[in-house]
Amino acid sequence: MPNLHETLSQILEGYRANIVNYDRTVDLLEALYKRLQYMNDQKTFFDVLRSELLSEPYSHFTPPHPRRSAHEVIVRAWARFGPVAELPAIVFALLR
C-alpha cells in the first residue's frame, strides 16, 4: 500500500474537491482503516486524521463551489470506527 499519510490525504482531497460524496468518503476511510493490520498503522491513521482535522481551515463555501472542508467526514468516520473516547475533546478543540 502506498504511504498511509498520502493515501489519507488523497481521500480527503477527493472530498474537498467534490470528486467523491460524503458517504463514499467515509466508506473509503473505513476501508483503508480495515486494511491496516498493525496497531502502529492504525494509531498513525488516527494521528493523521486528527492532524488533518485540527489544521483544516473552515470553508464558508457552499456547493456547487469546487472546494469544501473535510471536517464533517472526519468527525463521521471517527464516530463510526475511531477511538470515540478522544472525539469530544477533539471536536471542542476545534472551537477556536
Binding site: R76, V84, P88, L95
Partner: protein
Amino acid sequence: MEAWARKIAPEFISALTLYRKRFPPSMLEAIKVQCIIFTSERATGLTGFQFPNTLIEVAEKLARTVKQIEFERFEETIVDTTQEASPATDLHGLLVSAGLDLSLAEAVETAKEYLRSTGAFDTKIGGDLLRTSIDVAHRALVAEIEKITGTPYAGRDKDGERRVYLRTVGIMTLAEEKFFSAIYTYISEESSHKLDAVKETMLVVERTVTDYLILLLRRFLDLKLRYGP
C-alpha cells in the same frame, strides 16, 4: 465559533445520534459539561464573555441529544429489550409458522446486508432488492391464499394487481393498500429513474418494508386460522 456551530456541531450531533452505542457514559458526561459552559454563561455571566447565539443554541441541542441518549439507556434498564426479536428474526419465525418459502427471508436479508454494507451505494441495486422482497412475498401469499380461501387470483402478473387481490381477501384495507403502493412506487421511481435517494432514506424504506412484510404475514396467519386447518 459560528463556523464551529454551523459546520462541526451539527455533524457531531448527527454522528453521536447515529453511533450512540459507541459513546460510553463518561464521554456523554464530558460533552454535557462542555455544553453547560456555553449554555449557562448567559444566565450566570461567569466568564464575562458573550458567546454567539448560534453557539449557545447548538450547545443546547447537543446537550439535549446527550440527555436523550442517557434517557434511552435508562429506559433499557427497565424494559428488557432482549425480549424483543429483531424484525428479521421475527420475519423468519413468521415464515416458518406460515409454512411459506424461506427464500423470502433470504431476499430481505440480502437487501438488509446490501444497505448496511460499507461499499459504494447504488440506489438502483438497493431499490431492486427491496422490490424483489415485496414481489416474492406477494406472489407467495397470493398463491397460498388462493389455496386456503378458494378465491382465484384473476389479475395479471403485476404486483399492483396482487395488492388489490390481497385487499379483496381482507389482508389489508384500502388505506393500507394505498400507503404500501406509495412505498412500492417510491422504490420503483428511485431505482428505475436513478434519482438521488441517499442511503439513509433507503434504510428507512427497508425498515418499513420489513415491518410491512411482518404485518402481511401476521394477517395471513390470522386468515389461515379463520379458514381452519
